[in-house]
Symmetry: C2
Subunit: 340 residues, 2 copies
């Protein structure tokens, strides 16, 4: 069964006017008499007329929708980003189409394909941890689709990027552990393909070096699916606790990994922080309720979403091709269980 709305044609017929007059009256064109405008406006209001956005899109060659691809909306970090995106997009009359890659490359490709076929006007993407082939993304970008990266970006594609200072965030977290006396600090990291992983591991290593500690490759574990598959984290943690001597602390580079490590340490009945301390990136709101309240690196997710969307809409609405791309780098915040 179909819901059929009032059209300009209906109004024109009823009022004995042409569709163009009605159209112009509705858009308050100066070439329409006040009297006509009034009649049209009133009648339209009475029928609760809404211009058909699809017809508009066809005409303007613009869907007024933007696509968003993130790993998982169930992840607080991403849902906060999405809230930021929506706050700006809706304000400007754009619809947001959210899709999830679930850290799966094939799913990401399919989704991308799908969004493109739905003729989105632009794309906000945080690539999946499994993304190692940029062909499709590149070709979409080359064919003119405006793209802005959020958080996880890729080097090869030259466009706006909104990120955090991953190096610094990781550095701070690691220093925090060092200051508390931990010296055998392991790192459970996201996929090596991700630029954020490199940066965070970089910050971690720099902090160690500052304390004259040599980073030990055995102490760094990469999770290709970013902890999406729990067994990855299981393997990582199991291997770490088998080392002799054992690590006395773990730094995890993402939300999912931080909670994943927690889960594993609990399963192994390892006291946190007593036996092994834990810290890592996380935007979860439940952190303070965990059985072992830990210090985390928080990202300004909402703001990242906002800024990225502003940049994207700018790209979309720019008359001439944009050449001057920026990378906005925001700061992270180290949050202890008590200091809030």
């Amino acid at each position: 069964m179909k819901y059929k709305a009032t059209t300009i044609k209906d109004i024109a017929k009823a009022l004995n006017l042409s569709t163009s007059t009605v159209s112009r009256a509705l858009r308050d064109s100066h070439e329409i008499s006040a009297a006509t405008k009034q009649v049209v406006l009133e009648y339209a209001a009475r029928l609760n007329f809404q211009p058909n956005p699809i017809a508009l899109s066809l005409k303007e060659r613009k869907s007024h929708s933007i696509g968003v691809i993130v790993a998982e909306i169930a992840n607080s970090f991403f849902s906060q980003i999405i809230n930021g995106i929506e706050s700006v997009a809706n304000e400007q009359g754009y619809t947001v189409i959210i899709s999830q890659s679930h850290e799966n490359f094939e799913k990401e490709v399919r989704t991308l394909q799908y969004l493109a076929s739905r003729s989105i006007d632009g794309l906000l993407i945080s690539v999946s941890s499994a993304t190692n082939d940029l062909q499709q993304l590149k070709s979409l970008h080359q064919s003119g689709l405006p793209i802005v990266f959020v958080d996880r970006s890729v080097e090869d594609i030259h466009t706006h990027k909104v990120v955090v200072d991953n190096y610094q965030g990781a550095y701070n977290a690691t220093i925090h552990l060092l200051e508390q006396g931990y010296r055998r600090i392991a790192c459970v990291a996201n996929s090596e393909h991700l630029n954020i992983t490199k940066e965070r591991v970089g910050g971690y290593m720099a902090a160690l070096q500052q304390y004259q500690l040599k980073p030990d490759p055995q102490m760094i574990k990469y999770c290709f699916h970013g902890g999406m598959l729990l067994h990855e984290v299981e393997t990582a943690v199991s291997e770490l606790i088998k080392l002799k001597p054992k690590p006395d602390a773990i730094f995890a580079t993402s939300d999912k990994l931080t909670t994943g490590c927690m889960r594993m340490l609990k399963r192994h009945k390892i006291a946190v922080p007593k036996t092994i301390a834990l810290t890592g990136f996380s935007n979860s709101e439940l952190i303070e309720l965990l059985h072992a309240p830990i210090t985390v690196v928080q990202q300004p997710a909402f703001e990242m979403g906002q800024v990225a969307t502003e940049l994207l809409l700018q790209l979309i609405e720019s008359k001439r091709p944009v050449k001057d791309f920026k990378t906005i780098k925001l700061q992270t915040r180290l949050v202890s269980p008590d200091n809030k």
Copy 2:
């Protein structure tokens, strides 16, 4: 700058055919010669031709998109529902447009208005806890927009509904507390406007009565914004612990309330479950990591999303007006920290 795709016209011109022939060839019409089909199909494939969905929508008067309104995607329960929705919708070629009410009635109205104006083909909604006026929803429904309710439904609108057995879920949780010896069980509930609240409070009271306990109105606290505003929960919990004698357990009727109570009890330095036990509805994946692992009532969120979407698409694609509406009631699951 604009991204312009190949059109049927381009293909027709290049191949010296009419647009109708090309269109038919692409849709594999039997009235096109095999030879022509081949040429067209090959050429189209080479150019990676994608029919413009907007043009299709205009023609078919169908946007192939469905709107979803939930309180908050950051809530695991809703994000799981959304995953269920997506799994079915995408399968069938529908785009899902997700919006959040943030438990705010005005926001819900605006969002609804917006979605309707974007000509969605149907709507999945879990009403906000602040919803007390159904006028808009009703008029949309009457004008023919297919609607399916998920979880939180309203009595007055006659359509498909996908819910859980709230009464039973609440009953089980309360019995669980009673079996462990708790006798002064308070209830922190969602907005009274919500039908799920009535059902859950009903189950809670039935359990008490089964143990010959008389429900005490002072022991039931309603949170109009469903815990979205933390101070609501703060007030509720503060009032409860001021009672003499104090409650020895709390049953919370939603995810946000369950974690909210936990937060408050922690803030008041009340040991859980030692001083006051806690149980409630929750689909959070972090529950088992909380400092006081609690028993929760889980809802089959993913499945709810799937079923609701199947019903909605059925409504959308039905040739004749549907009169026979069902309410699908799924079962909840009581999950203890250990039994998993």
